[in-house]
Symmetry: C2
Amino acid sequence: MGTSAVPDIVVGRLPLYLRALSQMEAEGKEITSSQELGERLGISSAQIRKDLSQFGEFGKQGTGYSIGYLTEQLKRILKVNQTWDVALIGVGDLGRAVANYAGFLDRGFRVVAIYDNDPRKIGLKVGPFQIRDAAKLVQDLRGQRIQVAMLAVPVAEAQSVTDRLVEGGVRAILCYAPTSISVPRLVRVQYIDPVLHLQRMTYYVP
Amino acid sequence: MGTSAVPDIVVGRLPLYLRALSQMEAEGKEITSSQELGERLGISSAQIRKDLSQFGEFGKQGTGYSIGYLTEQLKRILKVNQTWDVALIGVGDLGRAVANYAGFLDRGFRVVAIYDNDPRKIGLKVGPFQIRDAAKLVQDLRGQRIQVAMLAVPVAEAQSVTDRLVEGGVRAILCYAPTSISVPRLVRVQYIDPVLHLQRMTYYVP
């Protein structure tokens, strides 16, 4: 219905809008405007109206947006009106922090299993999880129909683990390893590498 | 010299190119091409050539790029041919992982001090660092001329700590708190919020 043609950069801004709306809701607000959202996010109100208009009519001229309604619509569009089961692979310092992060659940994601290939770690507890043997990954992913994974393994293992995630049916991978991974066309990848962000900023520091 | 007009989205790809070049160098390669870089990164070779052309002539038609030379040039452009001192504020699970992350140093950044406002944490050791009192932040930043900071504090404290970072002279903030922060025009902010990335992907999962 046309949404397949929405540029990815627009899709990428919807989670920002959703996060700002959730914060407004937590502050007890019920109505907002593209101006107010824009000021919070440092994005122009025209851009916000244009982005949202790609998905439908969410507000009336002059009365602004109902925060509750727009939140529901954005959750539906981003498919986080459901909770996605997530596998986490790699339980070093970072993987441990991710496993313990409380901010996933109310935003559509639930870590359900964590994996490592280090025999000294397998079986240990991290928060509510017992670290599972990465050798069981493909079988588990298929059995539990897990479609989302977070990858916090060393660079040298990133591609081989990725291949097993894909084999297990994963369709979305958040890669914390500071490298690029190859996936089939229908699998999405996003990267988190703090140094990329830092270098993007130092360019501007005089 | 014209570079001030380079779109930020282009600047944002340079660290990706630099990372891929460093990996090629580590593999013992000396020459690459926009085609090869593009395949590694999932970016078209035309895009890569166009991006690089905004900053100068880095390769000769038909002979490709010298990896060593292009690496040096990108480091210079991104100003990571020097090492930036970085302050880390907030030593929870994530802050701890960031403090222990070994991947900053050879890419232009060095954590030099970590801060928390929890009296039970101040003075404790994390890796080579002793956690300092966040009350000393502005004074330390100014005294050590620190221009880069990473923020791993709870959402409720993010803006007040940001204000102190700015007061202390910080020009680039990497924000791990899942919220938007306001800064003066000359200060850059980048965000790391894994949920934003996950939501951007689930949009596409059928």
